[in-house]
Amino acid sequence: MTISRQTFLRLSGLSLAAVAFRRIARAVTGPKWGMAIDLAKCAGQDNCTQCAAACRQAHNVPQIPDSRHEIHWIWKEPFNRALPNQADEYSTISSAPVMVMCNHCEHPPCVRVCPTQATFQREDGIVAMDYHRCIGCRYCMAACPYGSRSFNWQDPRPYIASPNPDFPTRTKGVVEKCNFCSERISTGRLPACVEACPEKALTFGNLNDPNSAIRQLLGSRRHIRRKPELGTGPKVFYIV
């Protein structure tokens, strides 16, 4: 059957519009994941690193003794390093420890620069890594303004003390980072760090749902983000 050129163009235009509309609709109505960290609660326990330990266990994150080759998904930094220029010498908050991780930015510079789309932004806002496609150029690491990414400078397996067989490891030569536990949230569970925190300092939820716990927290408490002036739109919020 033959169709006229006009009809063909109309059909293609309509189908493209339909796809775009569906995408936008899903982005608007689907979830948008975010995390809020209550700094005061986090400081409640001294030297606590349970969230980091849980993440390490769940995702086979290696523990490498050479500090040059360390791999971190979530880890602790002093306040003046994680949130520079946001507290002066007279504030009391600047002694609190801060857990930092990938901020899953709304406008991620790492996604902008990746030459193979090995790191990409999902519709639910999570900045994901495709370890099969990564060529290990480390451009994303240069682009990330938060230092959230780590590179596998060697085979990580010898440095994984208690492997989790249900989750893959990574191999040498690829970049990795926090993935907001996408494999857990797809089955309705909370991220490992959120579940492990003894003080319940981490809140994870859907930023698009005005009734979610995280939205209520953000609506009622003062909060800041890391380097907001860069326009990246981080989705990890720190309650101060």
């Binding site: 040059r68 994680a82 230092g147 400078w153």
Partner: protein, 399 residues
């Protein structure tokens, strides 16, 4: 077709040079095999300083490659007859430099077997994609132009007419390869040292200083070692280009200092302070940067004063100083210093490891091998036998 038979000769020192290059390439290859096996951890790179010697050499060599335009433009657009004999040398230098660039990127990758993913999944919003496209295109352009013009010269004819627009295309393309390379760096929000609009002009200015100065040195070397003679006028015109470009390059660097320190914004000044003074007692880079600045200043004196620039003894010294100064500035300082301090304020210093240096030297040897073979072909086509059994008269840079 490639006139490769011209690259074989009976001269002993020529073969000795080739043998040395092959040894260096072999050593580099062995180290690279080790890197493939163990991972990039055998280099001096770290979680904080993720780009080092390899990417820095790549950045510098893109500049050298782009500098071919400084001989092509005057000759083909403005009919500057002095450059008639050396455009081919400039184009061959560009080919060798681009090949080195590609090799440096290749050895820097964590998963090099996946390199074709950049072409399988083209990503127009990633500057690295455009970098690959522009470098590959430049290589093809220069190879085509050089081959056709040389072949025509050998057969005593003129090159086909369609080569003219291709040559004209190579002029903006040369500018674009280094602009794209600068764009790799100066669009990143987290690296203040690079986040400056003047980075691309800086890159171009230093490219047009370092490339032609290397070309001058190569011309003088070729004149000394073979029976070719290089017109003095060509060398002097190139020297003038180097002078202006170096002056502008140094001026641009000084502009960076003013913006960073006068504005008083902490992030803007920290990397620069690390480069020249050090931060918290970490001062690895400072001696290098001061050396670079001193060489730059001295070379400008030797280049600006006409008596020195026209001196046959001092010009090579000035050119060598320009090359080394800019190599330190781009090839060591600029890339590494942007990672200090890290986005979290940590200071991790970087110095390349021995295998890393061997691989880099191996790649330089590959470039020099390509350069030697190509120059041998070009000059043999021109002069017939380059090395005669009788001792050649010492030919300097005669008119």
């Amino acid at each position: 077709m490639f006139m490769l038979e011209k690259a074989l000769s009976r001269n002993r020192s020529y073969w000795l040079w080739i043998a040395c290059l092959l040894c260096a390439i072999g050593a580099g290859a062995i180290c690279y095999l080790r890197q493939l096996d163990r991972g990039l951890g055998i280099t001096g790179l770290s979680r904080d300083v993720t780009w080092g010697l390899y990417i820095a050499q790549f950045t510098f060599l893109v500049g050298v490659a782009a500098s071919a335009v400084m001989v092509v433009l005057p000759y083909y657009l403005h009919h500057c007859k002095a450059f008639a004999k050396i455009t081919i040398l400039g184009e061959f230098l560009a080919i060798a430099a681009v090949v080195m660039c590609m090799l440096f990127i290749f050895v820097d990758m964590g998963q090099p077997t996946r390199v074709l993913n950049v072409l399988l999944y083209p990503t127009p919003h990633s500057i690295m994609f455009w970098d690959m496209v522009s470098l590959s295109g430049y290589l093809v352009l220069n190879a085509l132009i050089a081959l056709l013009t040389l072949k025509a010269e050998r057969e005593g004819t003129v090159a086909p007419r369609w080569i003219k627009p291709v040559i004209l295309l190579s002029i903006p393309w040369a500018v674009s390869i280094h602009t794209v390379t600068a764009f790799l760096y100066n669009g990143l929000p987290g690296r203040s040292l690079w986040l400056t609009a003047i980075l691309a002009p800086r890159f171009l200015a230093s490219a047009f200083a370092s490339g032609p100065s290397l070309l001058i040195l190569l011309c003088l070397l070729v004149a000394k070692v073979t029976r070719t003679d290089v017109p003095r006028e060509a060398v002097q015109k190139l020297a003038l280009i180097v002078t202006y470009a170096m002056a502008i390059s140094v001026f641009f660097v000084l502009m960076e200092f003013f913006t960073s320190f006068y504005s008083g914004i902490p992030e803007h000044a920290e990397s620069l302070r690390y480069m020249f003074v050090g931060l918290d007692g970490h001062t690895h880079l400072a001696p290098w940067m001061w050396l670079s600045m001193s060489l730059a200043g001295l070379s400008l004196v030797l280049l600006i004063v006409p008596r020195y620039r026209q001196s046959e003894r001092l010009l090579p010294v000035a050119c060598a100083m320009v090359f080394v100064s800019l190599w330190i500035d781009k090839g060591i300082g600029l890339i590494v210093a942007a990672f200090v301090p890290s986005p979290l304020g940590a200071i991790t210093e970087y110095s390349p490891s021995a295998p890393e240096i061997m691989i880099a030297l191996g790649i330089w040897a590959v470039g020099l091998l390509i350069l030697t073979v190509l120059y041998k072909i070009a000059l043999s086509v021109r002069e017939g036998a380059l090395f005669s059994p009788a001792p050649a008269p010492r030919v300097g840079v005669s008119a």
